[in-house]
């Protein structure tokens, strides 16, 4: 059927495809470089205030002294918290979505609760979470979980329920069990749903971690950010947040 030697037309087609791919990538790189260059130049010329917006060259300097200023440690802590929050959110979310898909009754029962939980401002729950699980890494992970879990459940359940009826019927004509329908039709049909929800989730987990660090952390990017911010003249606006942080800690 397929010729071993590609025809000229095919070669041209493949070439065009490669060119498109490369030019998309080059354009993306160019945008990043232009952005950084513009930032640096404007800051140098004093058109934007580098006190407030910082400057690429200064940031680079800070990164160079990683071991001295402890950024590496804080970065590690934040990464760890985000990944744990993200993974547990994804895994728990999928498991709960499967349970709700399995039982129509349970999903009907759960529906209003999920909607309410989803609309809850989870960040406001922060102090309560600290009381429940203690001020520490676990509180931050719970925070990340609280923000990402419900969205994951809703999104994946929605994908499951929208699986093509015809495909499920086709499987049923072979007398497929519910478990077979789940593993052979519903899950593979929703791979793109999984990937989409993971993309959203990693962002949400990071939001959760940062807002958790606001409240409780002794380490992590947010606290690093606070210390750093406090040492520049804009401390007034951040002082307020630091106060919140201190009062929370005292409260606990």
């Amino acid at each position: 059927m397929q010729k071993k030697n590609n025809s000229i037309e095919r070669k041209q087609y493949l070439k065009r495809k490669t060119i498109t791919k490369v030019s998309i990538f080059l354009t993306q790189i160019t945008i990043v470089i232009l952005f950084i260059a513009l930032w640096e130049i404007l800051a140098n010329k004093g058109i934007i205030d580098s006190f407030i917006t910082s400057q690429p060259s200064r940031m680079l300097k800070t990164f160079m002294n990683l071991s001295q200023n402890g950024l590496l440690k804080h970065l590690g802590v934040t990464c760890y918290e985000t990944i744990v929050g993200f993974l547990s959110g994804a895994i728990l979310g999928v498991i709960i979505a499967i349970i709700l898909w399995w039982s129509k009754f349970l999903s009907k029962v759960a529906e209003p609760f999920l909607v309410v939980l989803n609309s809850l401002p989870k960040i406001a729950l922060g102090p309560v979470i600290i009381i429940w699980v203690g001020a520490g890494t676990s509180a931050i992970i719970v925070m990340a979980l609280a923000i990402s879990l419900i969205v994951t459940i809703l999104e994946i359940l929605n994908g499951f329920l929208n699986t093509e009826e015809e495909k499920i019927k086709m499987a049923r004509t072979f007398n497929a069990s519910k478990f077979q329908i789940l593993t052979k039709i519903v899950i593979p049909a929703n791979i793109s749903t999984f990937i989409n929800s993971l993309k959203v989730n990693i962002g949400l987990s990071l939001v959760g971690v940062i807002s958790g660090e606001f409240l409780v952390s002794k380490a992590g990017l947010r606290i690093f950010n606070s210390i750093w911010r406090a040492s520049i003249p804009t401390r007034l606006s951040y002082g307020k947040r630091c106060n919140t942080f201190i009062s929370c800690s005292n409260y606990v």
């Binding site: 093509e164 015809e166 499987a171 049923r172 004509t173 072979f174 007398n175 052979k184």
Partner: protein, 260 residues
């Protein structure tokens, strides 16, 4: 040797329960199908033809009556029945070959012998070269043939076709019905087909069952007899008798439409 009745329906009825009351869809359906026979079911639209097929397949519960397959009463999905739906429902994340063995996988019958059988079917019907392709790379007619082989892979005794060709364009449809007719005759498979296309019913069937409007019941059964050697859907369409049958079936359905 007595003539085997592979499928027999006795007083089959179906009543739907809805919020605003009961709907009687099927009432006292009686007919039987002999081994190797091709039977079509036609009827006014919305009369419950597809429901009847789903009930025979065991996917829907009947309200009353009895269904016998090989003279054994059956109430659930039977491994003797293959059911082909309007949409091919090929799984786009599986290759053609993995789609074709889907039924074997589900029924835990995936073994060397059956896989060889599937391969022979693919070869016989010109799909073997495409076995490692994905469904999106195939034309509608080819996809429908793949779906048929998927159904045949479990070696059903009775094949149910639910408007299996209506999603195809006219030309493909004529060609696919011819191909599928050949396949079914070659494999000597008993077939019950639901269709809204009178000419499709005449061209393929040994008998045509006409259902009435709701609540549907068997109104008439026509025997399609053509004095043609090597009968196939193509040469049947050209015969004079084809038009005769078409007229009488058309009138049967037309009366119902007017009564409405």
């Amino acid at each position: 040797m007595k003539v085997e009745e592979v499928l027999k329906l006795k007083n089959v009825g179906k009543t739907y329960q809805a919020k605003n009351g009961e709907i009687e869809a099927l009432k006292d359906i009686n007919f039987s199908v002999k081994k190797g026979e091709f039977v079509s079911i036609i009827g006014p639209s919305g009369c419950g033809k597809s429901t009847l097929l789903s009930i025979i397949a065991g996917l829907e519960k009947k309200s009353n009556g009895k269904i016998y397959i090989d003279e054994i009463e059956t109430n659930s999905v039977s491994s003797k029945i293959g059911y082909m739906l309007q949409k091919d429902s090929l799984l786009e994340w599986r290759t053609i070959y993995n789609n074709v063995i889907f039924g074997l996988e589900i029924t835990h019958k995936k073994n060397k012998e059956n896989e060889e059988y599937v391969k022979s079917l693919l070869k016989k019907y010109n799909l073997y070269d495409f076995k490692d392709k994905y469904p999106t790379q195939l034309s509608g007619g080819m996809r429908q043939r793949v779906a048929l082989i998927r159904t045949l892979a479990i070696r059903p005794e009775i094949l149910l076709l639910d408007e299996a060709f209506s999603a195809l364009d006219y030309q493909t449809r004529i060609m696919v019905t011819r191909d599928i007719y050949d396949i079914l005759r070659n494999e000597n498979i008993t077939t019950v087909m639901v269709t809204h296309d009178i000419s499709e019913a005449i061209s393929m069937s040994d008998r045509v069952i006409v259902l009435s409007a709701r609540p549907a019941t068997v109104k008439n059964i026509y025997k399609m007899e053509f004095e043609i050697e090597n009968r196939n859907p193509m040469n049947v369409r050209k015969s004079i008798k084809f038009n005769k049958y078409f007229d009488s079936l058309w009138k049967e359905l037309d009366v119902d439409a007017k009564e409405k």
